[in-house]
Symmetry: C2
Subunit: 371 residues, 2 copies
């Protein structure tokens, strides 16, 4: 747990992140609200428009590169500890968005972190990695305009970690991450290497770089921005920018999905039937009886079903608005109906995604140099 | 400073090591005395016979491999922060000894440690490294029966560091090394990788390995032995053995040579004239007047000139014994004469060494893939 926090807000990439109030992040961590920039973004995506992306650091630099058609990069990745789920979908869509809007795209398979943090051996994470990359490609990531790599096989990020080691005191590590074993600190240094890799000589040198992440990853950004500053003389690093998305609620209504509870989330490798069952069993913001719901309306703010529409499954913003105000709060729809509609949308998406993903498996193996 | 120590004995590979009493190391650190093994060693070298090598961990395992002509390895190295000097000469001779007695030899250029500990950039350490390797070859190391590498370019040791990270808590690091920046801890993990590299698959798997080092390097051995144990299931590591040599006194009589004081040591790249001057100016265990010295004898135990003969420059043990008892303690020689004789021996050695070293420079560049 991060020691510098005194409120209930905890941001810990290696533990559980609980955000009591996103507003507090602006004050406590110096994260800027994203909303004021929205009107300036040429073609904002759904997550931006709907406030799912709520905060940023130094996004102005990216905005300027987008507007002026200057070189910039987007960097994010996945920890290969399992199949793609709703959280990794979010990041993948954000990376793909920036790639389609002119960014050089970097996508890291964080298998060193999977090993250090989750004790997953490299042989096993390689299997997940192949599926994860196929998912990414199925979601529209263009490997010709991007660079996908595994930490364990990318010597340049390890060498950056070695370079950065000298710039981080033990006190800084403890302040940012709390007390952990050396492997986690080492993987944090490697993550800093990932984030600054797009600015190295091999990739045409310093450039604005945006890192779209969940708020739980912000400690890595703080560390990396500090290192970019410390090593600016030799490498001319530009401090990386970041955007922060909210974390989608778990299906049981709790603040974050958890691998320990398979009913709290679904992956895109599960069968549509299993996913449908999980959605049917999900918590909602509904009333105890249909009569009450029609009379008083339900509560979308605590409802994971609403979150699923908001984050991923309604294409049009007006559908989200109508769901929130009229259908849900207005009591025009019952949770059962709402779930059934969602199941149909999700099923269509998942079937189509699985079809595409299957086609990309060979390409994914090729990218990861797997057999 | 190592926190577990309460006496004046400090062992710190990243700081100053002061050994008040070598005997205490046996009690406090579990280092075994070397002397009882001496009679069993088929062909002990001068450092062994003369007590310069005073301690060991698990040397029995090496002895058994030597006697039975079984596979074993020797591993040591140099931090490329300058030219070869009397300390690195000691280690190089020990590595070469074991290589000539059947060991697969590994010699590491610790350029990551030079960067993390001494802030030496890799471009600069590469220059020192070439000279260091030429010195090693001039001293008889056979590259055909050995493996010489730089940490920064040997991915296998970095990958071992990543592997080991998970096995070391922050508390362990602090207990062994004290409070340092992350780079030093990372270089300690890489050193553990160096020490266990000879036991990896690429080098035909687990085998007894002896690491001949100065006592200041023992913390790395303790860490590595602990890691060998922790990761024994998957890798079948045999805990590395070690031998410890005493540190040769500085020319000013202080316990350890220091780069900060160029008069406290000499390198083999200095001219014979400069070396002669440094020896002439050296502290000795002599008496204030020639008359007193002849009458009372001098004190070899505090004398760096005696150390030079003992460690390196008398080939025959009986010459050392005669110097200690008769010439020095017996007052038969004055310090000026003793120094003059040493200057002649050192000059002959240095000239010959420089000639050989020059011939090996191209080979050294080839080994280090340098231009």
């Amino acid at each position: 747990m991060s020691k510098e926090l005194h409120s209930k807000t905890k941001i810990d990439p290696f533990g559980t992140t609980a955000i009591e109030d996103y507003e507090k992040l602006y004050e406590e961590f110096g994260i800027q609200p994203f909303k004021p920039l929205l009107s300036e973004i040429p073609d904002p995506n759904a997550a931006m428009r709907r406030g799912v992306i709520f905060g940023h650091r130094d996004f102005g630099r990216i905005l300027s590169a987008m507007k002026n058609h200057e070189e910039y990069a987007v960097m994010s990745g996945i920890k290969p500890t399992g199949e793609f789920h709703l959280g990794t979908l979010q990041t993948a869509r954000e990376v793909t968005y920036f790639q389609q809007h002119g960014a050089k795209a970097f996508y890291c398979i964080a298998d060193v972190e999977a090993y250090e943090d989750n004790h997953i051996q490299f042989e096993r994470s390689q299997k997940y990695a192949i599926g994860n990359v196929a998912d990414l490609l199925a979601l529209g990531f263009d490997p010709k305009k991007g660079f996908i790599y595994k930490q364990s096989k990318e010597e340049r990020v390890k060498d950056l970690a070695i370079l950065f080691g000298r710039g981080v005191t033990l006190a800084t590590m403890k302040a940012i991450y709390g007390e952990h074993h050396m492997g986690l600190y080492l993987s944090a240094l490697i993550q800093a290497g990932d984030i600054l890799l797009p600015q190295t000589k091999d990739f045409s040198g310093p450039k604005p770089t945006v890192v779209p992440v969940g708020i739980d990853q912000d400690p890595h950004l703080r560390l990396t921005r500090d290192l970019a500053f410390k090593f600016r003389r030799k490498y001319k690093f530009i401090p990386p920018s970041s955007t922060y998305h909210k974390l989608i609620k778990a299906l049981d209504g709790s603040p974050k999905m958890s691998k320990r509870d398979p009913m709290s989330y679904f992956t895109f490798e599960e069968s549509p039937e299993v996913i449908a069952k999980k959605i049917r069993n999900a918590f909602t913001g509904g009333r105890p009886t249909a009569e009450e719901q029609r009379r008083l309306g339900a509560n979308p703010d605590i409802c994971p079903i609403y979150d699923l529409y908001l984050f991923h499954f309604f294409e049009k913003d007006e559908d989200v608005t109508r769901l929130y105000h009229e259908e849900c709060k207005g009591g025009c729809i019952l949770c059962g109906e709402d779930k059934q509609r969602l199941i149909e949308i999700v099923t269509t998406f998942v079937k189509e995604h699985q079809r595409k993903r299957h086609q990309y498996m060979d390409k994914a193996r090729e990218i990861l140099k797997a057999e």
